[in-house]
């Protein structure tokens, strides 16, 4: 006599994203989500006015009223870090949005048309590659004045080729697949095929590249603000905070620069690791 044991319950399938990211990737996604929330709700979260000067309490140590202490003019460091997350995160977001919305259509058109136009666009991208982003941004700033807008536009142009090159290479492979031929036979227009079929299939690749780019752009933008050419003091911004804290380091107060630096490294790490997980391979990320 045989006893039929009830079938073991199937392990609950986890969503694809969770499996693909793994614990480390999920942790990075959580860090990014938390930072984004902090940036969005910064004015509500910041315990104090980030620009309120208090010359009686300069370089104060951690206390209940100033959890991370104060800077050289007695401003609350925690509040400045929180409010500073806004420009520090918004800048790279704008740059990446710009380079994706310029680079992807260019790459798709180039891969679709092929021939001399494609060759010309590829040469053009090669030339753009020759211009290091920070230098292009400095050139733009010398013409249009210091500030985030010049830097964002220049970096958007400089990072566009990275998005375009990856997208073009993948689009060329994708367009040779049988389903594209089938769609053409059915009489779908090039626009429809590119927009409704190629683009969604290349989506995860573009998102992966954009995520990695976000990290590198954040470094570039923070560098420009650090040089005094981007976000202008007294505005709170991580790059600005590193620069304005630098003179105090030798007086024995490295806190301001260190905290802002740690936040930048943490954020960039989160974005590059997440980007690598998205590409779903253990290869080293595409450097910019």
């Amino acid at each position: 006599m045989s006893v039929l044991s009830p079938p073991a319950p199937l392990p609950r399938a986890r969503p694809v994203v969770v499996r693909r990211l793994g614990p480390l990737g999920l942790a990075c996604a959580a860090v990014i989500a938390a930072l984004a929330a902090i940036a969005i709700f910064a004015p509500a979260i910041a315990p104090r006015d980030p620009n309120a000067v208090d010359l009686l309490h300069t370089f104060a140590g951690p206390s209940l009223s100033h959890p991370l202490g104060t800077d050289d003019t007695g401003r609350d460091l925690l509040s400045r870090l929180i409010v500073g997350s806004r420009t520090s995160m918004l800048g790279p977001l704008l740059v990446v949005t710009m380079s994706v919305s310029l680079g992807v259509p260019l790459a798709l058109a180039s891969a679709w048309i092929k021939g001399p136009a494609d060759a010309l666009i590829s040469r053009l991208l090669d030339v753009l590659f020759a211009f290091p982003g920070v230098l292009l941004a400095i050139l733009a700033i010398s013409l249009f004045g210091a500030g985030l807008p010049s830097a964002v536009v220049a970096l958007g142009l400089a990072h566009m080729p990275y998005i375009a090159r990856v997208t073009r290479a993948a689009a060329i492979r994708e367009r040779e697949l049988p389903y594209v031929a089938a769609l053409r036979v059915h009489g779908f227009s090039a626009m429809q095929i590119c927009w409704r079929h190629l683009l969604p299939n290349l989506g995860s690749l573009i998102i992966a590249q954009a995520t990695v780019s976000f990290g590198y752009v954040m470094v570039d933008l923070a560098a420009i603000s650090f040089l005094g050419l981007g976000v202008q003091p007294p505005s709170a911004d991580w790059g600005v905070m590193i620069a304005s804290g630098e003179p105090s380091i030798l007086e024995g107060h490295p806190q301001q620069s260190l905290y802002a630096g740690i936040l930048i490294v943490m954020t960039v790490c989160a974005f590059t690791i997440l980007g690598e997980r998205f590409t779903d391979s253990d290869r080293v990320p595409v450097v910019s």
Binding site: L139, S142, L250, V268, V284
Partner: protein, 317 residues
């Protein structure tokens, strides 16, 4: 023959890129709000005689294309115009600072190649905690901007240990070496981490290949297997990426020089932007981009020479 025609096509590409770059750097004058004169003088009120002189020097009253070729002709001869702030030849202002920047970049390049390759190889050969530690360290290293590395180093090695000076470039070779150690290390950090990652990946790939197994089965001692069969093959892709990383240092030096108050091209570029000294900005930008492009091309050609398997696009096989 193959390598020569490949090099020729690369050099032609280099010439085109340089030409376009010069066009962008000059054309930028016309993109800015206001007229080119306002940009060149930084909006300073200057006597009409000086303005006429600048107009004549840049050929601004001629059509754009003619004034561009006129400017380019002068640039090729090393005449970058006069600094608005110092009323001196831009070329002589720049040459005084080229050496410092070149020293900084070369020093950082040395650090990257040395530590990057060594860390990568160790990471590939020592599986376990060593590998994990190097992997974690390089992940953070790649994400650390040079100016963050700079403030950490100043806090630790200047403020804490008093080992290295925090500012200046020093005079004489040993003093300069001592002054530029921290700046070079800060500049090299991300690149070192990246090259280490790449070396590790390349070495792991070679370790898994059959020719390594064959060599081991023939009883060749492990050090020789690693040296002859793993490293020699793994270092081919590393060479290219290390070269490109080094080229990237040229732009990176701008930030590091400012972090450590090193008086090179980069800190002069930023000062000139702040002082609205556009002829100097033009010259330094052009010079740095040119250096970057030239190093890139040289690396490309070297790669073709080192690795006979490299696919030469634009050359007959």
């Amino acid at each position: 023959m193959r390598v020569i025609s490949f090099a020729a096509s690369r050099l032609a590409g280099l010439a085109v890129t340089l030409l376009v770059t010069s066009f962008v750097v000059y054309g930028a004058l016309y993109l800015a709000p206001g007229n080119p004169i306002a940009v060149l003088t930084g909006g300073r009120p200057l006597p009409p005689r000086t303005i006429t002189a600048i107009e004549a020097e840049y050929g601004l009253n001629r059509p754009f294309f003619l004034s561009y070729t006129n400017w380019l002709g002068k640039v090729i001869q090393g005449d970058f115009g006069k600094s608005i702030v110092f009323r001196e030849n831009v070329l002589s202002l720049i040459t005084a600072r080229v050496g410092t920047t070149a020293f900084l970049v070369a020093y950082a390049a040395l650090l990257i190649i040395l530590f990057g390759v060594v860390l990568g190889v160790v990471s590939a050969l020592r599986k376990g905690p060593t590998d994990t530690a190097i992997l974690a360290g390089t992940t953070v290293g790649i994400a650390t901007p040079s100016f963050v590395a700079a403030i950490v180093m100043i806090s630790v090695f200047t403020l804490g240990l008093h080992w290295f000076p925090a500012i200046g470039a020093g005079t004489g070779f040993t003093d300069r070496l001592w002054h530029l150690t921290m700046p070079s290390a800060a500049l090299a950090l991300a690149g070192t981490a990246y090259v280490a990652r790449l070396t590790r990946a390349a070495a792991n790939e070679e370790l898994a290949r059959e020719h390594v197994d064959t060599a081991r089965s023939r009883g060749i001692p492990e050090p020789l297997v690693v040296q002859r069969h793993v490293l020699r093959n793994a270092l081919i892709p590393v060479t290219t990426v290390a070269g490109l990383t080094v080229a990237g240092l040229i732009a990176g030096s701008v930030v590091v020089e400012n972090a450590f108050a090193v008086n090179g091209l980069g800190s002069y570029l930023v000062t000139s932007v702040q002082q609205k000294d556009f002829p100097v900005v033009q010259a330094i930008t052009l010079l740095l981009v040119a250096a970057f492009v030239v190093v890139n091309t040289v690396v490309d050609i070297l790669y073709a020479v080192i690795d006979p398997r490299v696919k030469m696009s634009g050359a007959d096989r």
